[in-house]
Symmetry: none
Subunit: 217 residues, 4 copies
């Protein structure tokens, strides 16, 4: 019953284009059923929302039956929760964590969200935050991650301020939060600014303005 998570899902790796992604001996199917369910659910939740994604649909996308999902997750809600938890692994903002990301990396981190390839990440992130506004448990899990990320970013900014890289007159905590707010806004590019997705000059503009926002000199 306990999540094992030996081989963390690494959701959208086909992007990196690694040549051989078979399992080590080629015998067993490269991905566990559980993993496939999570991936299908993430995609469907992102595209159609939680209520808009039916268990049969998720099952079909995973190549199994609806009933079978219940061998892996107790309910649709639990499946959502697991998807939410996993979503952090594909979200640039959360990934950087241990990296103790240099604050100078922040503008790039944000502007990355303007890329076409991250569409699913954007959609999923929005859906996760929507779900959080409706479900207690999702809210709790998400808050933990969000706060950790913001703390990390705040720390990075603090460090940079002591370095002299960033303007020390700006509250680093608030700066981190506003930074995240802006990233959150970028998640809506697909509906708000569909024409600017993948636009290089827009990306550069975002990069530059965010630098200013967090107090770059």
């Amino acid at each position: 019953m306990i999540r094992k998570r030996r081989k963390l899902p690494a959701n959208k790796q086909s992007r990196t284009a690694g040549p051989a992604r078979r399992s080590r001996n080629g015998a067993k199917p490269a991905e566990s059923t559980r993993e496939r369910i999570l991936k299908s659910a993430a995609t469907l939740f992102a595209e159609h929302g939680f209520e808009g994604s039916s268990m049969p649909a998720i099952a079909r996308t995973s190549g199994i039956t609806a009933g079978a999902i219940y061998k892996h997750f107790r309910s649709k809600g639990e499946l959502l929760l697991e998807v939410v938890k996993r979503s952090f692994e594909s979200t640039p903002l959360f990934i950087q964590d241990s990296a103790t990301g240099a604050a100078t990396e922040l503008p790039r981190l944000a502007s990355v969200y303007t890329e076409p390839e991250l569409k699913l990440v954007r959609q999923l992130s929005i859906e996760v935050h929507s779900a959080a506004s409706r479900d207690r448990e999702v809210r709790r899990v998400l808050a933990l991650s969000d706060e950790a990320a913001m703390r990390g970013i705040g720390d990075a900014i603090s460090v940079a301020q002591r370095d002299g890289t960033l303007d020390p007159k700006i509250n680093p905590d608030f700066a981190a939060r506003l930074f995240c707010v802006l990233v959150m806004g970028l998640l809506h590019m697909d509906t708000l600014l569909p024409n600017l997705i993948g636009d290089k000059s827009w990306r550069d503009f975002v990069h530059e303005r965010i630098s200013t926002l967090i107090g770059s000199r």
Copy 2:
């Protein structure tokens, strides 16, 4: 707080054409059923999402039967669309209408979104954008409004740049867009930064940083 109804859809009212459209006893304008449905739907869509709000629930909240809604709206989708259209009337960003739009007002406009009273507006805006990502027609209607608002803001910034109020080296179009992105991000405060809602110092911080963002000197 009172609906102004400048440009009412004129769906079912132009028929009688009588100049006085009061209710039978002339007392209260007795908010029309149609109006009540729209208000209930807006609230429920905001709180539980489109798919999460059932017609019976909307009806109950409006004090009528589910079937009765169909005398006023052809389908749940059309009801959503009407709610989306109406939502612009309560959204600060759209209300400003470019007319008065001094660019100096922009930071205040954005920071207003951090207030507790606007929770419903925030939720509804998010839901509307979510719906847009799933429904063609909603997307179209929303895009029209979004673009109009961004154009208005862009113009205001241009003017201010010629005035010397704002830094003219910043692309005013992009600035308007990034401004909207940030506002979009602020809509998520309820899940992202619940503790900062209504926080005065945060509000001031947002105000100040946005000023910088759009190039205030």
Copy 3:
């Protein structure tokens, strides 16, 4: 407040083709509302069946509101009944009655049912018989008419047998009934023999064979 109805829908009236069918003084609309409802209902019942025709649809076709129908007919069932009664007026088989139709006319009477113009009559007749198999009262009314028609035809055949025009060895009663059965079958031409509708040689064949069937010499 008063409906003007300048351009009434005039749905399916070109069939009867009577030259002047205006009301006596030309002032009032040529057809009473009641009449229009009956005609619309007949058409819709014929095309979509009783259950497939909704009161709103009938009302719309009649240029009025569903509620208004209830000023003229107590219920949908009663409307059906009235339509059934009226249907006899457009049905060749019933029309001949008083004519004490010479039996020699019978084959022509039947073969007339193969004409394209009678499509609606065919459909309505079938629907009426279908309704009869489900509704007691309709069954009663229809039985009365059917029996009268068959009696009339039987009598005509009897007369002709005494005349020597028809073979007297054939039971005239049964012959009349079988004749009606055949006509009933012809009602299904639209689905059974769509390609033969309006076909001259088929019509002649039917004419000739029916002559034989009833014992022509």
Copy 4:
């Protein structure tokens, strides 16, 4: 009375492909749910028409829930279509298969329709033809069968004409068609001639007159 299922639709069964398809304990073949649904639907469609038969009613008659029907048929329309296809198996006219079809058997084949036991077959046949006039797909399926049957009968008549059993001056194709028209008319006996159902002398009369109709000598 037992289904023969010569040409079973093979919808969901080809999967297991095991030779023995008995129920778990080998006792009764335990009529499959699918079969039960089809039988209930056929009965109800015959008695109350397509629109007059609700899915809950069909389900109740089959001893299951309405939702369960959708595990076997995609929609009510598809269920109708399947019922239509199956209906041919119980319809004397289609069963004869032309193979054995001696034309001398035709009068008997038709007069069989006057029997009380065939009431359901009559009602279902009428309903199927009614449905055909309203639904494209049903029309297509029915036309195929109708045409095959008429071709078969036409061939049988041709053969008999060369044998000298039937009058060769009659167009065999038209004769087959008129024969079918008459059978179609007999389907309406329950409403048209309720008192003659099962009547021996009427049956003999029909038999004899049909012989004449197709040119017997």
